[in-house]
Symmetry: C2
Subunit: 404 residues, 2 copies
């Protein structure tokens, strides 16, 4: 019995499965590939301190006062410039809203577009927090199948014919969380065209796109958008510091203004001081050089991880080989119960996030996500070896069970 009369939106007990996983993985004995943290050793603490001191000296009172719901103008100018240079998105500060982390954009877009019972398309699998958010607004999900090149736009068009009522499609086109997969340019162009043709909104979430350590940059879905159906979003969390909780959205003027009205009701505006600091940091430092350092480190950790997977895992195990980002995705054929594998891993002092919470519909059994961005090199080999032992033990237990 519940003591208080919560709304229907409030998840019932036990829904924080991921919280429980991270709690189990927090034991210091455990090598945890479950997290999703950037490497803190690359946080530019000294440069941030200097930028902050300069903000206090030059704009102290403004930074501490209430500010604009859309965000600090100087920061929106910085974003507009980089979005053109980097993503081919022609925009200006009016079309940009600074958000309290990119999570807030997902929440506000859900609030702005989803009525209870509305259909939302997601990738199969997709970012788990997006599922939670859209669910809280009453979304019904359709999962669009993926291959090594991300969401299959042929499968998408099939799904659209069956579900022309779709309101929103959510995609992470670069180094997707959880799979690490990237959608090529032709699919992005096709997606933008389908959004116009079938009149639904696309939420393009690009937290990882800058962290590329192999292959070539692919233009954003938004850069192919001619009708205003694409909302682009990104964050400073992966290229600078997640603790500041600063992200942004770029959209058609009417859409961005509606999102801003909702943002005012959510938190008035994002931390002004943090916005001034980031704008100052960009003025005083070469962000591209900093991003290169991050990409190099993550690239070498990813390689170490895939090298060890090849060395220790059963040969039929499938895994993604991302060209950037923070995650790779493993699928072990024959594993029927990923939770059982997770529990076995905990016994072997290693952890991951099981695939289940990343699926809005049916899961692909035996799949899980590994994080390499925040894992010291010497721990990667040890951890993957432990994981390999756990996989072998679960597979052999299953065989015994079948033979009994």
């Amino acid at each position: 019995m519940e003591m208080f009369k919560y709304s229907k939106r409030v998840p019932k007990d036990g829904s924080d499965a991921v919280g429980e996983i991270l709690k189990a993985a927090a034991d210091p004995k455990i090598i945890s590939f479950a997290g999703g943290l950037p490497a803190p050793e690359l946080f530019p603490v000294a440069e941030m301190k200097k930028a902050t001191d300069d903000v206090y000296d030059e704009n102290g009172k403004e930074a501490l006062q209430y500010g604009s719901a859309k965000g600090v103008l100087k920061l929106r100018k910085t974003i507009a410039k980089r979005m053109l240079d980097r993503e081919g998105i022609k925009t200006d500060p009016d079309h940009i809203m600074v958000s309290t982390g990119s999570e807030q954009v997902i929440d506000l877009v859900g609030k702005a577009f989803i009525d209870s019972g509305d259909t939302v398309f997601v990738e199969q699998p997709t970012y788990l927090c997006a599922i939670d958010v859209f669910k809280s607004y009453g979304a019904k999900f359709v999962s669009v199948p993926m291959d090594d090149d991300g969401m299959r736009t042929d499968a998408l068009e099939e799904a659209l014919k069956e579900h022309p009522e779709v309101k929103l499609l959510y995609t992470v086109p670069n180094f997707q969380n959880p799979t690490g997969r990237t959608m090529p340019a032709d699919r992005r162009e096709a997606l933008a065209k389908l959004a116009e043709k079938y009149d639904f909104m696309v939420l393009e979430d690009n937290p990882y796109g800058d962290i590329r350590f192999a292959g070539e940059h692919v233009p954003s879905v938004k850069s192919f958008d001619k009708s205003g159906h694409v909302i682009y979003m990104s964050t400073f969390s992966k290229i600078l510091a997640p603790g500041l909780r600063l992200g942004w959205a770029i959209a058609d003027l009417d859409v961005i203004n509606k999102l801003t009205v909702l943002k005012q009701s959510a938190d008035l505006h994002s931390d002004n001081l943090a916005q001034y600091i980031v704008a100052k940091f960009f003025e005083e430092n070469d962000i591209e050089k900093h991003i290169e350092k991050i990409s190099q480190l993550y690239g070498s950790r990813k390689k170490l991880m895939t090298d060890n997977i090849k060395k220790y895992f059963p040969k039929n195990v499938k895994f993604s080989d991302p060209e950037g980002g923070m995650f790779l995705w493993v699928q072990v054929p024959g594993v029927k119960d990923t939770t059982k594998l997770f529990n076995m891993c905990i016994k072997h002092n290693v952890a991951f996030v099981p695939g289940v919470p990343f699926f809005a519909g049916a899961e692909i059994p035996g799949s899980f996500r590994l994080n390499y961005s925040n894992m010291k090199e010497d721990q990667i080999e040890v951890g993957i070896k432990r994981l390999a032992s756990a996989i072998k033990e679960v597979l052999s237990e299953q065989t015994v069970a079948v033979n009994k």
Copy 2:
């Protein structure tokens, strides 16, 4: 015609009336009593800079990394201690959630408790943003009448008998926005008892309670709560700096945990750096001394304003005489259309926020809110004189219209 298929929650065009008012009031010729800003000349910029430098030196990496959804433990300890000392609320860090401004608590409480069609009780008038937020979750409102001592608990009990289905009551018991009124202890105790008896939640919003320049401190509603029906919320915006967007909620453990799950979906957590800075500021400085400085300044500005109101306004004008906070409330008998008065004021180069948006139901005609916290002394007399002229002009125009 709308271009995009928004959800029913999105307000239709023209709903940002307050935005329009603030825009009109932003003309530098205009003396604006419309805002709600703290006085920036009292922001402790040097002390904040020192606290920030120390955070970078001592906890740089932690402050820039992802953090806990409930908030930085050190800050929650600081809050727990002050809540006991100051408000008589016995609590601990587990029962406290740090929020992105107190606005976020209103939003999350709305999300957690209000299903479409649910009844919410508010004061008549009440904080306008709370109306917008609850409306976005489909609330139906019942306005509880007030007198000079805030919400009338006798009228509340009448309303409860008529609306036993009420889910939530929202109140600002100290120096209410917009009226500046304060609820005495006996009414607070009665409110806490009624919440238990009729099984509804109380959201006690206390942004201004610390800024008292006259009279005696009154214990919080939460301090009378024996059944967990009261959620207490406050903010660092008025006692330190609103730009940081940091507030907090205190509630029953089950309630605070549910709010925290919803917060994770809203923005994962609030700015970690800002949380470390505020905790450090409290460690290094005497906040009570700082609050005293703020209270003294606002008290003298309030006195200047009421002195000039007495001197220049028509004698039958009613106005509140707050013992703290940032606002006072005026009601001009005989004014039928407050928008007309507002437009006349703009012609006279002075501005306020008209009463209308503060009412969830029928407005009290001729009422408006004046802010004194962020107004230089020499401007107060000039502004009130202009307001007096505008009032007289509107009243005489009305008389002419009647006599025609």
